[in-house]
Each structure stands twice: as C-alpha cells, then as structure tokens.
C-alpha cells in the first residue's frame, strides 16, 4: 500500500462523518452552501465553520501530540486566556505588534514548559499536572486584565481575528498553515515516531535511548504554542481579552476533536490531519445547532446524541458488535501495554 492510499484510508471515516454532519445541516438549513463576498472577505456558513473552528483546530494540533505521548493537556483553555490577555495588554501598553505577538507566544511556550516540567521531570500525572494550570491559569489571565475585558483597537492585531488573506479569514489561514507545518516537521523528522514510541512504552523507549524527558517537554510546549495562537485569535476576534471566558471548556472540545479524529487516548499512533477534520466535525455540529433554530435548552442533548452517533459509527467494534452482540469475546493482540508510571 502506498503512503497516500494509507493516508486516505486513515482519514476516510473522519471525512465521511464530516460529510454526514454537513449533509444533516444542509437538510435543516438549505441555504448552508451559499458563499458570497462581503467586505472583501468570504461570507457563508461553511466559512464560519472553518473560521470559528480555528481555536479548537489549533488546540487539537497540540493536543494530538500530547495525547500521542499518553498525556492530556487540560490547561489549553486557560493558556488561551493567558496569551489573549498578554497580547491585549501588550498592544494597549504600546509595545507594537511584533513584540506583542512575541510576548504572547512566549507566554504560551512558558505555560507549556511548566506543564512539561511537571509531567516529565516531576512525573506528576498529566491530567493533574495540567489541572493545576487549568485552575490557576485563568487567575493569571485575570491578573493581567484585572478582571475586566481588556479591549484594544489596534488594527494590526485585530487582523489576526477578523482580517483576511486573499478573502480567506486569517484564522483559517493560521490553523491550516500551523497544521501543515507541524505535520511536516513531525513526519519529516523522526519526531513523530519517537513521540509514538514514548506514548506506547515510555520505559522501553527510554531504554532504547530516546530522550523522553526532552521530547515530553517539547510536546507540551508545542501544545502551549498552539494554545497561544488560539488565544491571540480569540482575543483579536472580539478585539479584547476576556480572561474569564476565552477558551472556557475548549480543552474538552479539543480532546473530543482528537478522539473523533480516531486517535487513541492511550497514546501511540496519531494523525494530525484526522484530528483537524475532527475539529471541523465538532464545529460543524456547533454551527449546525445554531443554524437549526432549536431552543437552546436542547443544545446539549443534541450535541450528546450526535457525539454518540459519531463515535458509534467510527468504533471499529460497531459492526462486529452488531453481528455477534452476544457471542464473540474479543480478539486482541497478545500484548498488553505497560503503563508508564
């Protein structure tokens, strides 16, 4: 099997799911596919999905890598808030765009470094290690904005939220470029394989000479960086840093995107592209709910139902289960994974 065929086979379930969700939306909202140009920018529901999905897509990039190492990063939402706050603060203090962006990205990297340090060096379980920053991070963000929504009018920063490049909204460009870049780096270098190796068996990888510690820190830093980008976009989008609400609960959406992308939460093999499609599936679902006009009380029930259906359809067990619901015990590889400490 060639690489391309294998790649397509890997992402086929996600593509099909995306098509199905979009089809469903088009059913309840026939005008879905209308795209026009407004203010020199593409305008239409499909564009909204791509555009609104940017934060989750960016988070999903970092999250995919973190999850591949058998970790999880609950702090990304809070990191978004911090970096959004830093960028708003920087620009209002008059540091200029370049310095502001640099500071915001550095803040994200720093947060990632902290998480990575807790996980790789202090060996705290990832979910708890990142829970700390999830709780404290929002406080830090509020410390920067002093609890208010820090608004700004700097057009150059706003460009990252609502500008456009060749009529394509900037956030869309950013997440696609970031996704391609990270995928390129990870797959062209040995990083991808090494990340998968430490995710599957940390101890064995370390024995084979893989520098797991540095790799783990790097992965969490990547996640922090992606969260920083998402935070900048979110702040630029509303021309202000909302420390309390920016990225709230987005960590769950990002994790969901990774899982809908068919990646195992137990680490190991990963596909960035599938995660990104997963993010779009989730955003399509959210946008679809908004377009459908159901009362908001039903939002969560609808979402739960759709997620369940998606997961059931994607579960490799689904059709075997239907055939042998009562009969078959599972065929499993002879190996069980060893649990890293």
């Amino acid at each position: 099997m060639t690489g391309l065929a294998r790649f397509l086979r890997r992402i086929a379930p996600q593509l099909l799911t995306l098509a199905a969700v979009i089809g469903l939306i088009a059913l309840v909202f026939p005008g879905f596919f209308q795209i026009s140009l407004a203010n020199g920018r593409l305008f239409g529901s499909p564009i909204d999905i791509l555009n609104r999905g940017a934060p989750v897509a960016l988070l999903a990039i970092g999250m995919t890598l973190v999850i591949a190492t058998r970790g999880i990063d609950l702090s990304v939402g809070a990191v978004m808030a911090i970096c959004g706050a830093v960028s708003a603060w920087g620009i209002t203090e008059g540091y200029g765009l370049a310095a502001t962006l640099a500071m915001a990205l550095a803040a994200g990297l720093l947060c990632g470094l902290w998480n990575g340090f807790l996980v790789a060096v202090l060996r705290i379980q990832p979910i708890v290690a990142t829970l700390i920053l999830m709780v404290a991070g929002r406080g830090i963000a509020q410390l920067i904005t002093e609890g208010a929504i820090l608004t700004f009018n700097d057009e150059s920063l706003i460009f990252f939220g609502s500008g456009s490049i060749f009529a394509v909204p900037t956030p869309v460009v950013i997440w696609i470029v970031t996704g391609l870049l990270v995928a390129f780096v990870v797959r062209r270098s040995a990083l991808g394989m090494l990340i998968e190796a430490i995710g599957i068996n940390l101890r064995a990888s370390a024995l084979a000479g893989v520098n797991a510690r540095v790799l783990l820190i790097a992965v969490y830093m990547t996640s922090g960086l992606c969260a920083a980008l998402a935070g900048i976009i979110a702040a630029a989008d509303i021309r202000g840093a909302d420390a309390n609400n920016a990225g709230l609960w987005l960590e769950l959406d990002a994790i969901l995107a990774v899982v809908v992308g068919g990646n195992s939460l137990l680490g190991g093999r990963f596909s960035l592209c599938a995660s990104l499609i997963g993010a779009m599936i989730i955003q399509a679902m959210n946008t679809g709910i908004l377009l459908s006009g159901f009362p908001p009380e039903f939002n969560l029930v609808i979402k739960a139902a759709i997620i369940l259906v998606i997961l059931v359809l994607q579960s490799p067990r689904a059709h075997t289960t239907m055939v042998f619901f009562r009969r078959a015990p599972r065929e499993e590889p002879a190996q069980t994974r060893t649990v890293p400490q």
């Binding site: 379980q125 929002r138 406080g139 830090i140 994790i255 939460l265 939002n299 969560l300 067990r317 994974r337």
Partner: protein, 326 residues
C-alpha cells in the same frame, strides 16, 4: 509498613500538617463548627468521589458526575413539584435512573470499546441537557420531609453540627472501603485497573465489572444529587458545574493513580477534606481577589501533590529499593 499504604499515609500526614498550619494562623479553624462544615459542605462531593474512586481505580474516568448531580436535583424538584409523591419513592426512582445511566455508559465503553473519557463526556452533555429539558428554572423543594432531613443533626460541643448528609458521606466512605477491599468485585476493579487484557486472561468478568463500576458511579452520583438537593433544598440545572474535576482532584490527591490499579477509597476522603480545607482557608483569609483565589488554589493543589510525591519518594529511598520496582 506496607509499601502500598505509603501514599495514603503521606496524604494523612499532609492533611494533619496543613490543618496545623491553618490553626496556627486562624485558631478559629480548629472548632467543631469548621469540622462540621467541612463534612456537611463536602458531603455531595465526597459521595460522588467514592464512585469516582472506583472508576479511576479501574483505569477509567467519569466526567458525567457533575451533570448527573445537577440532573438529580432537577429531577427530584420537578417530580416533587408536579406530582404528589413522597420523596422516598422519588429518591428510589432517581437512583434507578442514574444507576442505569451509569450502567449504559459502562456498556458502551465495554462493548463498543470507546474510551471512557469521551463516552462520559457525552454522558455529561446528556445529563445536563436532560436537566435543561426538564426545566431551566431553579426549582425550590418545599417538602416537610426535606426539612426533617435538614434539621436532623447532632449538635457537637462548640456548636458544630454533624448533619445527616455529613454522616451519610462518612457511611458511604465506609461502604466504599468495604466494597473496594473486602469483596471480589473490589478486587476485580483493581484488576481491571492493572490492565484490561491481563484481567481478562486472569478470568475477571470484564463486561460485568465495567458495567458495574460505571453503574456504581452513577448510583453514587445520584446519591450525591440527593444530598445536594437536601443541602440546597432546590433543583437547578446549572448547579455543580465542574464537580467532576474536583472529584478527580480529590481522588488523585488521596493517592490514587489515574492510570488505575492502585489507590485507596479512604485516601479520597482525605483528598476531599484537603480540598475543603483549602477553600476554608481562603475564605478565612478573605483578602484574595477573584484571580488570586484561583492562582492560590492552583498553587496549593500543586504544593499538596508535590509534598505527597516528595514524601513517598523520600520514604521509599530510605528503604532498600526493591528489584525492578517501578
């Protein structure tokens, strides 16, 4: 001392030390009132955390409990408001619903081989969504039986109250401890946490156990919902957002490994009390702004985890390292 008891001992030591520190700063904190409050105010969290402990011991996770608690409150309030039923049958119906809800999540996790994180995330959306569908208002509960339950407490010397729900939490923990350490089911839970594949080869009934674990968690979440309803005399669909994370934190602070297979139900009680202590301390201090509150909670969480790690490490090092210990 048994090496496996080490994290538990460390947690207890840390809790006592932390309480001593609090006491030295605010002597008022060592009153039966505060102790009573600690039990009463954390009763629902503690009960839910017992269920969460089992789930985590088995290597899973249950994100739905916060929503299930909210749903329970709404369910009880709406039923009491709209039907003339006595609370007890309503409680029974509720526990049946939440247990079944948990069991079906367990079934999906097992039979469709889906990760618990995601299945229970969907469960979290569903439970809160159902609460919304029942009603979006906050519905007060006015039933004499509730007043009785609320008024049912033992006044400790020093005006502290050991309330019914506080006591219920302690009883739940006792039951949880027995279940975990003195039954075959408990052993099977630990076995699953050690590795599903291995457990299966060793003859653990994986399907039943998985379903039972999540059913148990659903049951305890329902019970926590009842306690929360008694605590607030109301049902409110926006209540207890994020309680699952508090419960996870309590379980982990209590010395249970999130990867499963190792930990103690009793540790979770200490974990819950530590979390309660942090909050009480912050309120007693009363000078922290909203944001510093969050930062300090995070830092204290960090400090506890670090202390625990350190304590376990140091004690481990003092004994001769066993071969292949990891």
């Amino acid at each position: 001392m048994n090496a496996r008891l080490l994290p538990l001992t460390a947690t207890v030591v840390i809790f006592i030390a932390a309480y001593a520190v609090c006491y030295s700063q605010y002597p008022n904190m060592l009153s039966t009132r505060v102790i009573g409050n600690l039990l009463t105010d954390n009763a629902f969290l503690g009960i839910a955390a017992v269920g969460m402990t089992f789930v985590i011991l088995s290597g899973g996770i249950d994100l739905s409990i916060g929503s299930v608690i909210a749903f329970s409150g709404v369910f009880i309030a709406v039923l009491l408001r709209d039907t003339g039923l006595h609370p007890i049958p309503v409680f029974i119906a509720l526990l049946a619903v939440t247990t079944l809800f948990g069991a079906s999540m367990g079934a999906i996790i097992h039979f469709l081989e889906m990760p618990p994180f995601i299945v229970t995330l969907a469960g979290m959306f569903l439970a809160r969504g159902m609460a919304y569908v029942l009603t979006i208002d906050s519905v007060p509960i006015t039933h004499a039986f509730f007043d009785q339950l609320q008024g049912f407490y033992w006044l400790m010397p020093g005006k502290g109250r050991l309330t019914f729900i506080g006591g219920l939490m302690l009883v739940t923990f006792m039951a949880g401890i027995v279940l975990a350490h003195r039954t075959r089911f408990g052993a099977n839970v630990y076995a699953l946490g050690g590795g599903v594949q291995t457990a299966r080869l060793m003859g653990v009934p994986v399907a039943q156990t998985t379903m039972a674990i999540y059913a148990l968690s659903g049951f305890f979440a329902g019970l926590a919902g009842i306690v929360f309803a008694i605590y607030t005399s109301a049902g409110y669909s926006l209540a207890t957002v994020g309680v699952e994370l508090d419960a996870i934190a309590a379980v982990v602070i209590g010395g249970t490994l999130l990867t499963g297979g190792s930990g103690f139900v009793a540790g979770t009680l200490i974990g819950v009390l530590i979390m309660g202590l942090i909050q009480t301390y912050i309120v007693f201090d009363g000078s922290l702004s909203s944001w510093w509150t969050k930062i300090v909670i995070g830092l204290l969480l960090f400090a506890f985890i670090l202390l625990q790690k350190g304590l376990v490490l140091v004690t481990n090092r003092e004994r001769t390292t066993p071969h292949h210990a990891r």
